[in-house]
């Protein structure tokens, strides 16, 4: 056993008003320095960033913060959830991020989001760039072609957790270590009923950003897009196509990584994210 088995990650709760509804939000943080707000993927939770939060090379320069979206992880749904279907919209997602950031007093954080988090990063760059020091989209594109019917994600005759995990298992690169692969899948197995599907309403229906990303000023808020070569949901060509429409954006395609870089292969992801974080840190210094 290691000499110090206690990890530096601290978890707490705060209640935030989001579009007029009180939401009790669970969040975790580690480190000191530039605030780095991390946004998890659809149907998942803060645990995806545990490796980043446990990495001293990151936390000696950045205060890494991540929160479970309402309905996810240890954040409850709002009161009355049992009487409605969960559907994430662009408006709700943006309000959630800005309200949480304000509630815990973050001063122009860097925001980094993956998958749906990567999509909303583009919307933040478009509409709220001045509120962020930099934005990082992982597996991020203005649009991607659907590849299965989301109705299968929430049925009484199919186990939601198992089907969610089985569907996304193919988005993990074959080279990713088994322990991290199965930890990533376990997160999907634990999502509430219909929540992954509700998140994908945002992804597939409400937030098609093709042709809508004008006005992004990367001199005010630098924008980075990093996509794994094994991601066939948000394919490298989807990210590259998106990048062509944004002057000044910096793009990198990550080798031997899929749709969940920070959780499926933390060591490989570190090779790509550290240069980005160091560049942001030097710029801020």
């Amino acid at each position: 056993m290691k000499a110090n088995p206690v990890e530096p990650i601290i978890g707490r709760y705060t209640t935030v008003s989001i579009l007029g509804e009180d939401c009790r939000i669970y969040f975790e943080e580690a480190g000191q320095g530039i605030p780095l707000l991390c946004l998890h993927t659809a149907g998942a939770d803060t645990r995806q960033f545990r490796h980043l939060m446990g990495d001293e090379d990151v936390t000696e320069k950045f205060r890494v913060i991540t929160f479970d979206m309402p309905w996810h992880g240890k954040s409850y749904p709002p009161v009355g959830w049992e009487k409605r279907e969960y559907q994430l919209t662009t408006e709700l997602y943006v309000a959630m991020i800005r309200s949480f950031s304000a509630a815990i007093g973050l001063d122009r954080p860097v925001a980094m989001g993956c998958s749906i988090g990567g999509r909303i990063i583009l919307q933040l760059a478009h509409a709220h760039g001045r509120e962020f020091r930099a934005l990082i989209g992982l597996e991020s594109a203005d649009f991607q072609q659907p590849w299965y019917d989301t109705a299968w994600l929430h049925r009484s005759d199919v186990h939601g957790g198992e089907v969610c995990a089985a569907l996304i298992s193919g988005l993990i690169a074959p080279q990713s270590p088994d322990a991290h692969r199965h930890e990533t899948l376990w997160q999907y197995m634990q999502s509430g009923p219909g929540i992954f599907r509700g998140d994908l309403y945002f992804y597939r229906v409400d937030c098609d950003l093709r042709g809508k990303l004008g006005g992004i000023d990367t001199s005010v808020c630098p924008l980075y897009l990093l996509t794994g070569e094994y991601d066939f949901s948000c394919r490298p060509e989807d990210t590259l196509r998106t990048a062509k429409t944004i002057p000044g954006v910096k793009v990198k395609i990550m080798k031997e990584v899929g749709h969940f870089p920070m959780s499926e292969n933390p060591a490989q992801f570190k090779k790509y994210i550290m240069p980005v974080l160091n560049e942001i840190w030097k710029r801020e210094k």
């Binding site: 186990h159 198992e162 089907v163 995990a165 089985a166 193919g170 074959p174 094994y230 066939f232 394919r235």
Partner: protein, 140 residues
Amino acid sequence: MSGTSKVSREQLERKLCARFEQAVPKRVNGDPHFVWRGRNLSADCLLQIGTVSYLLRFEQGSIKECRKGLPLMCPWDFAIRGSARGWDALWQDPPKPGWHDLFALTKRGEMTLEGNLHPLVANLQYFKDILALPRKGGAR
């Protein structure tokens, strides 16, 4: 199709079929944990590798029959049909990006899923793992 390309396609299919038959059903039925994972599954699956069809009869997680070629008017519950190129790519170790999963192949038009998909979707990881067995290194 030219004579040469027909011959090479047939050679590829033969190679893929041999690889499939070597792994399935032996490595499923011989693994108690595999059988346990499929314990709620009883269904007939048509699996197509290029132009070659197999009928796989699943019963409570075991493969009771793996038959090359279908009897006349033989019913099945669902079908997984892939091009020889698609299966060949899927079974590389490691497979190339975009060719490494059943749904990566359906998205690029190299595979189709047909029929009553409920037994497939309800046991999706089980099937993905079975169909990765012919890959050198096996299922992930």
